[in-house]
């Protein structure tokens, strides 16, 4: 089992008190699996991604544990965690466009980064060049400054750097959102190819765009207001979802071909609850058409079919 997460809880300080960004999530990602992590803004998907590698600023672990390849990750010990970072678990951050040091050539920064982690940069040089070619970049990119590259090129450079040590788990946070449609497809397919070539053993792809996940992810985990709603193979989530939130979310996505006159789509009324004082029971209760008295009690995230988990009493 590549990654198992058990009742993980992460809060972060805001001016108005603690925000329960992640409120007890448990799931697993198998070897070779690309898990899509979807949900609207504020559902905690980015926080979940960060909690597996490095929390920043005002976030802190409240509860729970994470095991990677059978080994418990020392989440709370930042120094010990360094041994796992980059080698075992790596990340392509949401801010990839500005993740490269502006005043260092890309080649020099990469070798300084590798040397600082005790790795001989010259050994890896051929492999680095091979992978750059693989993602459609010429090797003289290494001699250029970040300011000279386009957004799509920077995204690919960060993807290559982050996976250079063949990590067991890669977290790809919104790597397609800031790109044009054509480069969006290219980058998404690169992730699959990196998994196929064994550059990463498994990956979590975080995005709000369910359509992209349907194209590349094996399974999709949908989150809502800091908790897990549903996880299932991509095909099942998109075409036969069980959780009411997933169903409503899918029904509000205009398909290429859907017309206003013929197929009138509907959004989900209301807004996600504030996570500063989250409501008890199921957090989707006040927006859910199937809500009943039972929903006052929090629904467990349980198997309803092999590889298909849902957190809802009325599925």
């Amino acid at each position: 089992m590549s990654l198992t997460v058990d009742d993980l809880r992460v809060y972060y300080r805001t001016l108005r008190g603690d925000c329960h960004a992640l409120d007890g999530v448990s799931f697993a990602v198998a070897d070779g699996e690309i898990m899509g992590l979807a949900g609207e803004s504020g559902c905690g998907k980015t926080t979940l991604g960060k909690s597996l590698i490095r929390l920043d600023g005002r976030m802190r672990y409240v509860d729970g544990s994470v095991a990677l390849d059978g080994e418990d990750l020392p989440l709370r010990d930042d120094r010990a965690m360094n041994d796992f970072r980059f080698r075992k678990v790596s990340i392509v951050p949401q801010y990839s466009m500005s993740a490269l040091n502006p005043i260092r050539k890309i080649g020099k920064m990469t070798s300084e980064l590798l040397e600082s982690r005790g790795i001989d940069a010259t050994d890896l040089r051929p492999e680095l060049e091979r992978r750059l070619k693989l993602v459609g970049l010429k090797t003289d990119v290494l001699g250029m400054y970040p300011i000279e590259l386009s957004g799509g090129m920077k995204q690919r450079v960060v993807l290559v750097i982050s996976t250079l040590l063949d990590p067991s788990l890669l977290i790809a946070d919104e790597i397609t959102s800031a790109l044009d449609v054509s480069s969006q497809r290219a980058v998404s397919k690169m992730l699959v190819e990196f998994r196929d070539r064994g550059f990463v053993k498994s990956a979590i792809m975080i995005t709000h765009d369910l359509a992209v996940l349907y194209q590349v992810a094996d399974t999709i985990l949908v989150m809502y207001a800091g908790k897990l709603a549903e996880k299932a193979p991509a095909e099942t989530i998109i075409h036969s979802p069980r959780h009411p939130y997933t169903r409503l979310l899918l029904s509000s996505l205009p398909e290429v071909g859907a017309r206003y006159e013929t197929t009138r789509l509907a959004g989900i009324p209301g807004r996600p609850p504030s996570l500063i004082e989250p409501p008890t029971g199921c957090r989707f209760r006040d927006r859910c058409p199937l809500a009943s008295a039972k929903c006052a009690e929090e629904p467990p995230f349980v198997d309803v079919a092999p590889g298909h988990q849902v957190a809802c009493w009325n599925t």
Binding site: D56, L100, R117
Partner: protein
């Protein structure tokens, strides 16, 4: 890169042109006849003032049409002829300034360079260690708020007069003549330390605060977060933060040159150090207009050259300007 430097040079040439024009225009734009105003303030006896009146009219060439005066002013300037000095009768302004300049530079250049380097180092350390942050920073705030003249007075009073550790006034012992002898060097150094120190400390405070804030800002930048997410040891992250923070500090250095030069002039006056500053004091006290205008031009030229040097250093430090792309403003 050439585009970046070309733009900078145009600004400096334009600035020099404006400064010279200001220098030429002020005496001529004063209400009333400037010469009467000048002489009344020199309050010399009637006979001398009559002779001075003719002297001024000829040297200011007020009888000429304005544009002719302007052209002649530039012509004289380009030939290094800044006119005669009134305070030091018989010597020319440019000679006086060239004589005083080495002492000012001996004070100014080390003070600027060393305070910049030390200030940035200490500021970077303060951003890292809490204990330093709570001790060095408050001191830096006091230092940068202290007027140059007051720190000079404090050091002069305690170190020189009360504790008699170091001499005050002059650049070397009166009995000596400038020569490459260890004895002269020792005397020169002992006179040099206090003015240098007072100039160094005030500027040091400014850089330390600036760098400390910039480093904290850079450590929050995306590239720092990314490196830390990949488990990079803090040493490398801080190194990158420092090299990125130095860029705005360089621009800051260029902007601060005017203030530091002003500080140097005042510090020289407190210590009677024989640089351009002391020359300035005598020029003010004796209403020596040509000397004042000469000093004004030297300060402008000096600051412009220093600014250009900082721009050259900036091109070295910020590679993006070398790739033809616009460096930071």
């Amino acid at each position: 890169m050439t585009r970046y430097l070309a733009r900078k040079i145009t600004i400096y040439l334009l600035t020099f042109f404006v400064a010279v024009t200001i220098d030429w225009a002020i005496p001529r734009l004063m209400p009333g006849n400037p010469i009467d105003g000048l002489i009344s303030r020199i309050n010399a006896d009637p006979a001398a003032s009559e002779e001075l009146h003719g002297f001024f009219t000829k040297s200011f060439e007020l009888d000429q049409p304005l544009w002719k005066q302007y052209v002649n002013f530039w012509w004289g300037l380009l030939h290094g002829d800044l006119g005669p000095s009134i305070a030091y009768v018989g010597s020319r302004v440019d000679e006086l300034i060239w004589a005083a300049l080495p002492y000012t530079l001996a004070l100014l250049v080390p003070a600027i360079v060393l305070s910049y380097i030390a200030g940035n180092r200490v500021g970077a350390m303060a951003a890292r260690r809490k204990v330093l942050d709570n001790t060095v920073l408050p001191v830096a705030y006091v230092l940068t708020a202290t007027p140059y003249v007051f720190l000079a007075l404090l050091l002069a009073y305690f170190v020189a007069f009360q504790w008699q550790l170091l001499p005050v006034s002059g650049a070397y012992d009166f009995s000596l003549q400038p020569a490459w002898t260890p004895e002269f060097a020792q005397s020169f150094l002992s006179h040099w330390i206090l003015p240098f120190l007072s100039l160094f400390l005030v500027s040091f405070g400014g850089w330390a605060i600036g760098m400390r804030n910039l480093i904290i800002y850079e450590l929050e930048a995306d590239y720092a977060n990314y490196l830390q997410s990949l488990g990079t040891p803090n040493r490398l992250v801080r190194k990158y933060a420092y090299s990125n923070a130095v860029l705005p500090q360089m621009t800051g250095l260029a902007l601060a040159l005017g203030v530091i030069v002003g500080g140097a002039l005042v510090t020289e006056i407190v210590y009677g150090y024989p640089g351009v500053g002391s020359l300035l004091l005598t020029a003010i006290q004796n209403r020596d207009y040509f000397l004042l205008q000469g000093i004004f031009l030297f300060i402008i030229i000096g600051v412009l050259i220093a600014n250009f040097v900082v721009d050259l250093l900036y091109v070295v430090v910020d590679p993006r300007t070398r790739t033809g792309l616009q460096g930071q403003q």
